[in-house]
């Protein structure tokens, strides 16, 4: 693994054609996993650069307004910070657009959800989501997250209640009023889980969590400082 960074530097100097050639070569070498991998990554990021240069992504399913709203949601769900970029930078809107364009059920979840969100924003703040102020946008998301938490608590309690032998004939009683935000909570959960997936499966996200694997080593070792750290922070510290 020690030569990984050197390999990377070399590869950055290569043209795309060179990289492709090295892939072809590496495939013929049984133990060439590492080289093949680095080269493949390089080609991938080059292709992405080219895509950026060639102009903006053209949404397959969403209209411009919907796509912009998804982009704003992505920035709010996983924002840029000192460590890494946002879920928007990581391609979350494109990821959602692609999959939703292939699946009517998913498309309905998103077009319907985005429309619900705008309607709710107009009611509360007289502006659709993307045009509202940042604090209004986060106020809306805070409401959804709170409603989600309340729903979850109620569900847990409700189940315990229903599970009790003594109260089973009360099973159908709606003792808590359902939240008006229900459709928004369901939509936000979809938007969030797909945004989070898009972010953490991107190069940006994988680097953000500092994943160190997917390599090839001849001997597997666990660094001593890691073991010491874990033991010192555990109930087994001597």
């Amino acid at each position: 693994m020690s030569n990984t960074s050197e390999t990377l530097i070399q590869i950055e100097d290569m043209s795309r054609r060179d990289a492709l050639r090295s892939i072809a070569l590496a495939v013929t070498v049984v133990a060439g996993g590492q080289m093949k991998l680095e080269a493949a990554q390089h080609v991938h990021s080059q292709a992405k650069e080219e895509k950026k240069k060639s102009g903006s992504y053209k949404a397959k399913l969403f209209n411009e307004h919907e796509f912009k709203t998804l982009g704003r949601l992505a920035e709010l769900i996983v924002p840029a910070d000192a460590v890494s970029g946002s879920a928007r930078d990581a391609g979350a809107p494109e990821f959602i657009d692609l999959l939703a364009s292939q699946n009517d059920d998913l498309a309905a979840i998103f077009t319907g959800g985005l429309s619900w969100l705008d309607a709710e924003m107009r009611k509360r703040f007289s502006a659709p989501f993307v045009e509202a102020k940042a604090e209004q946008q986060t106020a809306m998301l805070d409401l959804l997250v709170q409603a989600e938490q309340t729903d979850r608590d109620r569900k847990t309690k409700g189940q315990t209640y229903e599970a009790s032998e003594h109260y089973k004939h009360f099973k159908s009683y709606g003792i808590y009023a359902a939240s008006d935000l229900g459709p928004g909570v369901a939509f936000f959960d979809w938007a969030r889980k797909m945004t989070v997936d898009a972010f953490y499966t991107s190069e940006i996200g994988i680097k953000d969590v500092d994943f160190r694997g997917n390599g090839s080593v001849s001997k597997y070792e666990v660094p001593k400082e890691v073991i010491d750290y874990a033991l010192n922070h555990s109930p087994f510290a001597s």
Binding site: M1, V27, V30, A31, G33, K36, A40, Q41, H44, L76, I77, V78, P79, D81, V83, L98, L99, A100, Q102, N103, L106, D142, T156, Q159, T160, A163, D189, K193, M194, V196, D197, A198, Y200, T201, S202, E203, I206, D208, V209, D210, F211, R212, G213, N214, G215, S216, V217, Y220, V222, P223, E225, V226, I227, Y229, A230, L231, H233, S234, P235, F236
Partner: protein, 571 residues
């Protein structure tokens, strides 16, 4: 039956199925110079094309969620897009049915190598007491063979496929022929410390992965992606380790896309060949041979036997006892995870390892079944570490932390701090758990399908509750907090759905008495000397040791015996 072709060629041995049992049969028989014809219901495997080893999720535009986000709707590939599992819980056009009041899921792979291409590769020997369960607790039935009968074949199988491990001298987990295991990861060291405190043995894992070169196979390169298929064949899969090498000897003929319909017998009740459907043409083909080995998986082999009806065998072949399809067992599964603060802030490192945990816990209370209140044991498998981020990796944290800065920091803080425990326990065979031919349904090849019936009993439920208490104790001893199920939800998921551990065995059990068993101790049918069942079918019990290694060893032993019987002219 419009199109039935009879092959003029006389084959020596026909093996049906290419997984652990079929692969071992192919290896052992071709090594002895015997000509083998292998039938596989799926296509040939092309590792270079199929295996997604080392791929990053961003190398595909759906990132692993598959077209239309199928994975979000539970319709993605079993065990994830990047695994090499071919097949699944439901196969297009090849249904099975489940009897009223039962629940059962049946995982089938249709490809050369079968389920060994993606399985967990846990490789545990049965213990001496596992072969005589009835003698210990009066439940189930004894095997007609003993540990001493199988031990030499465990040695051969381990030496050939390559299994890691260490000499421990623990009765429930007999030592074997081992390659060196990799060292434990940080979270595993904490788990071991907790187990030491509680009194549970926690030892190097025994997996079919090689850590040094073996028969030209390079050692593991520790990418942790065994489930994706290994391009260097550094783990065991019958395809790469047994079948591909056998193909090079010229002794093996592989017929893929061949769906076995039945074993053919002549007017005297002698097994003479196999009939199968060529999936490419939908024509029925018949091949003649000297001996047949069924290794299509326990239930699929039972199905073939039950469908092989004739004047001599009105209830199906090898089924004069009526036991074919009966005594179906799966493994008891229960899992619990915990979040461990001691792992927060740990300097990140590569936790991929050799694909699976580096430690495991064998059963430790074999002398104390009266105290624990259930008759059979379980072992514990471990999860944890910094897994490659994928679809769904951080949904729990996303819901916990809401959105924004909190979410991003929460994911960083909790990533890699979760440990998981999976119990794998022995069930007792019972009269409610079996498969039979559904009298009304055929698959798209016209072959009558299986109908499953299954019930866990109190023995299994009690064992699962013991797993739960034990795992919680380990997590808490590490200073962690149990995650997951609320009390109400637990009721429905406190034990695995039958079939889902994919250890189904027992449907053509072995025994000395032809009135109560389908095959003898060499997996040879009582009713036909030239018919063998070399998969999980002959298992008399299903100890907590994952079945694959024992299938390898039993198949090897049966084929040694078959070759000798052929040489003597008895078969």
């Amino acid at each position: 039956m419009a199109q039935v072709r009879r092959s003029p060629e006389e084959h020596e041995v026909v093996v049906v199925g290419s997984g652990a049992g079929g692969g071992s049969a192919v290896q052992v028989l071709t090594e002895k110079g015997i000509q083998v014809t292998l039938l596989e219901a799926g296509p040939m495997l092309d590792p270079a094309k199929e295996f997604k080893e080392h791929m990053w999720p961003y190398e595909v535009d759906h990132r692993g969620a598959e077209e239309g986000g199928a994975a979000y709707f539970g319709k993605g590939k079993s065990f994830g897009y990047f695994t090499t599992s071919s097949g699944g819980w439901q196969l297009e056009g090849e249904p099975y049915t489940v009897g009223e009041g039962s629940e059962f899921l049946w995982f089938r792979s249709r490809i050369i190598g079968g389920r060994t291409n993606h399985y967990g590769r846990m490789s545990f020997r049965f213990s001496d007491y596992d072969f005589k369960p009835y003698d210990r607790d009066g439940l189930g039935t004894n095997w007609p063979i003993s540990y001493q009968d199988l031990a030499p074949y465990y040695d051969k199988a381990e030496a050939f496929i390559g299994v890691t491990g260490s000499k421990e001298g623990i009765r429930s987990a007999p030592d074997g022929v081992f390659q060196d295991p990799p060292p434990p990861k940080a979270h595993e060291i904490l788990i071991k410390k907790a187990c030491d405190r509680i009194g549970i043995p926690c030892i190097p894992n025994r997996r079919a992965v090689i850590t040094r070169e073996l028969n030209g196979r390079p050692p593991c390169h520790y990418c942790g992606q065994c489930g994706r298929g290994c391009l260097t064949a550094s783990n065991y899969a019958s395809s790469q380790v047994q079948i591909f090498p056998a193909m090079k000897t010229g002794k093996l003929k592989v017929i893929d896309m061949a769906m076995a319909r039945e074993v053919l017998t002549d007017g005297n009740g002698k097994v003479v060949g196999v009939s199968y459907i060529d999936k490419r043409t939908r024509a029925e083909e018949r091949i003649r041979c000297r001996a047949v080995i069924l290794a299509a998986s326990a239930c699929e082999s039972a199905r073939i036997l039950l469908n092989s009806k004739s004047k001599h065998f009105p209830h199906g072949l090898a089924n004069g006892s009526g036991v074919v399809g009966r005594f179906l067992m799966d493994t008891v599964g229960f899992g619990l995870s915990g979040q461990v603060p001691a792992l927060e802030g740990l300097p990140h490192y590569d936790t991929d390892g050799f694909g699976g945990a580096h430690l495991y816990m064998p059963w430790w209370l074999w002398e104390k079944h009266n105290e624990v209140g259930f008759p059979r044991g379980y072992h514990i498998e471990i999860g944890g570490g910094y897994g490659m981020p994928g679809i769904g990796s951080f949904h729990r944290q996303a819901r916990k932390y809401g959105y924004g800065k909190n979410l991003k920091e929460g994911v960083r803080k909790e990533y890699g701090t979760t440990v998981g425990f999976a119990g794998r326990g022995e069930m007792i065979p019972n009269n409610h758990s079996y498969c039979e031919i559904d009298p009304k349904v055929v698959d798209k090849w016209g072959i009558p399908v299986l109908r499953f019936h299954f019930k866990w009993t109190d023995y299994e439920w009690k064992q699962a509750r013991h797993m739960e208490r034990t795992f919680a104790e380990i997590i808490e001893t590490m200073g962690g907090k149990v995650l997951g199920l609320s009390a109400a939800e637990r009721e429905s998921s406190g034990i695995s759905v039958p079939g889902t551990i994919i250890h189904e065995v027992g449907t053509a059990r072995m025994g000395n008495d032809p009135r109560t068993s389908a095959v003898n101790g060499f997996c040879q049918a009582h009713e036909a000397k030239n018919l063998f069942v070399c998969d999980g079918g002959p298992f008399v019990s299903n100890p907590d040791k994952n079945p694959t290694l024992t299938i390898n060893a039993l198949s090897w032993r049966s084929c040694d015996y078959l070759a000798e019987e052929m040489r003597k002219g008895h078969v």
